[in-house]
């Protein structure tokens, strides 16, 4: 049953070029274009500065370490731009059957929880593919840096910490999926594609407004229960900081609060969506 839901949803998404392009390809493409432009500008400015300061040529010949793409993607994969475009796919996947009135075609022959879980599974897969596309874009970013600046390339894993990389990668995935789950709940409750798109966007906007003033200058996100529970973005930042510890000690209990917050922000929308959908009349999707 879940297999049927996964296969059908994956097939449908794969045929939706707009959703696939927006969620998987657009952010990496923008990143590559922006990156190449950035390297050209910094090279031009850097050459001018070096000529003025009469710096030795070998100073600009440090190799570009392509392995940095791994850490870069794991840390910054779930960036705001990617999240925004992933929401386009999330809204299409979660609210598409209401918009196209297609629940009647698929919901009669499968359990409703399976259909919801199938959609979540497909969004997880899309998030993973988007992260892989970001990884490729990061490699292109570093390669273009070497090409534009004329520096040699290297692939040095000396400072690479596999455990930290995997944890950061997992956190980024959770962040993308968790954002999408808000779209799921909005879609099921409102039956509207626009609501599925704008409710998570509004939440992200509110977090960016509230998160700034709440974050002290010293760098730690506020770690009281209310802030962590209300703002999943803060919980995510806390966990990222815990995985890559800085010079400041982490407040006691912060990690547990953050894990609780992210867990609730993932579990509650799924449970609420399934419960709501189970009782929902599909008289007119």
């Amino acid at each position: 049953m879940l297999v049927d839901a996964l296969k059908s949803e994956a097939y449908r998404v794969s045929r939706n070029r707009t959703a696939v392009f927006c969620s998987v390809l657009l952010t990496p493409l923008l990143f590559i274009i922006g990156g190449v432009a950035f390297h050209i500008i910094t090279k031009t400015k850097g050459d001018a500065l070096a000529a003025k300061a009469s710096l030795p040529a070998e100073m600009g010949n440090q190799p570009v370490n392509l392995a940095d793409a791994l850490g870069f993607t794991a840390t910054y994969g779930a960036n705001g731009v990617l999240l925004a475009f992933m929401l386009l796919a999330a809204a299409t996947v979660y609210a598409g059957d209401y918009r196209w009135e297609t629940w009647r075609l698929i919901s009669a022959r499968n359990g409703r929880p399976w259909l919801i879980l199938g959609k979540i599974g497909v969004m997880k897969a899309l998030a993973m593919i988007a992260m892989l596309a970001m990884l490729i874009a990061a490699f292109v970013f570093f390669i273009s840096q070497a090409v534009v600046t004329g520096r040699p390339m290297a692939f040095d894993l000396t400072d690479f910490d596999l455990g930290r990389f995997l944890l950061l990668w997992l956190l980024s995935l959770i962040r993308i999926v968790q954002y999408g789950l808000i779209a799921l709940l909005a879609a099921v409750v409102s039956r509207s594609l626009l609501a599925a798109l704008f409710v998570p966007w509004a939440l992200g906007f509110a977090q960016s407004i509230l998160g700034g003033p709440l974050t002290p200058v010293i760098g730690w996100a506020p770690t009281d229960w209310a802030a962590q529970l209300l703002l999943p973005g803060l919980a995510y930042d806390t966990l990222k900081a815990a995985v890559s510890p800085g010079p400041m000690p982490m407040p006691e209990g912060a990690v547990m609060k953050a894990i609780t917050s992210l867990t609730l922000w993932c579990v509650v929308p799924v449970a609420a969506s399934i419960a709501w959908f189970q009782r929902q009349d599909l008289s007119k999707e």
Binding site: D4, L105, S107, L282, S283
Partner: protein, 308 residues
């Protein structure tokens, strides 16, 4: 009589509106079963309830032996409810592949065969956003039938189709019942089509079944006498409210036992009778009399000729 659907006291309310009002109905296995009723009679609500798309307010029903909403039972059903809609970016072939995945897998050859059978082979790779209503109906029928279900619900399957398409659909429905042993439940506003293709019908009004039975029995009960007479006014005076005008003839609601006496009374009143013959009511007459719908005022009552 073995049944595929058993409905007992099914009620569905939307606010103050009772879409289904204590509906009770048994639908036998095999053949084509028609569901008739004016707009808002509760046909689509019943179908959606049987498919588990909406929850009844009260009452119960079993479909293929399982409770409504039980996927094990509904997996043996195929359905097309109202005008079907599909993701607009998909082609007709992709729609069927997508639904085959959703329904546990249908062989590719079967999908191709259904595209051909419903007349969409040439349009198989066109996106459905450009499809006419008739083409969407064809695709909806293919989607409903490609899993080879034991029970098929088709809600207005010929809506938007051209006359050859309607004829093809009628033949397809009959062949499903006669050759493949599928039970077909058909809702349609085209009463002549229903009369031609259905074995039994139920007429709905305001969420209730108001009459049910074999098509031949229902139409036979409305048998009437068609009289070509002159002068019409004098004949109308004799027959009173038992007669209605049908062009330059009269349709008299007279039982066979009283026919001779009625004709004698007309002759004695100086009415010349050129022709007298029995006609059976068609489904449209039954439908209109059962639902209390009078149609366009002054419109003639139609009849279907038969020997008598």
């Amino acid at each position: 009589m073995e049944t595929v659907i058993e409905i007992r006291g099914l009620t569905k309310t939307y606010g103050t509106v009772r879409a289904l009002d204590g509906l009770t109905l048994s639908i036998p296995r095999g053949g084509v079963y028609g569901i008739l009723g004016p707009n808002g009679a509760g046909k689509s609500t019943l179908f959606r309830t049987l498919l588990g798309l909406i929850r009844p307010t009260a009452g119960e029903a079993t479909v293929m032996g399982g409770r409504i909403g039980d996927p094990a039972a509904t997996r043996r059903m195929g359905a097309m409810i109202e005008t079907p809609r599909f993701p607009p970016f998909m082609t007709a072939r992709q729609v069927l592949v997508w639904l085959s995945y959703a329904h546990g897998g249908v062989p590719t050859a079967e999908i191709e065969a259904w595209l051909k059978r419903v007349g969409l082979a040439e349009a198989a790779d066109r996106r459905v956003r450009g499809f006419s209503v008739g083409m969407l109906q064809r695709l909806g029928v293919a989607a409903a039938l490609m899993t080879r279900p034991d029970l098929v619900i088709l809600d207005e399957p010929t809506s938007g189709m051209d006359p050859p398409g309607i004829q093809e659909m009628r033949a397809l429905i009959r062949s499903l019942a006669d050759d493949d042993g599928v039970t077909v439940i058909l809702a349609s506003h085209q009463l002549q089509e229903v009369q031609r293709v259905c074995d039994r019908v139920a007429i709905f009004n305001k969420g209730k079944v108001i009459t049910e039975g074999r098509v031949s029995d229902l139409t036979a009960s409305g048998e009437r006498l068609r009289l070509s007479v002159t002068p019409l006014a004098r004949a109308l005076g004799v027959l009173g409210d038992r007669a209605t005008l049908d062009g330059d003839a009269l349709i008299a609601a007279v039982p066979r036992a009283e026919a001779a006496a009625t004709i004698r009374a007309l002759v004695e009143a100086g009415v010349d009778i050129e022709e007298a013959r029995w006609i059976g009511a068609d489904l449209e007459d039954v439908f209109m009399s059962e639902t209390g719908w009078t149609g366009v005022q002054g419109a003639p009552v139609k009849g279907t000729d038969h020997a008598g």
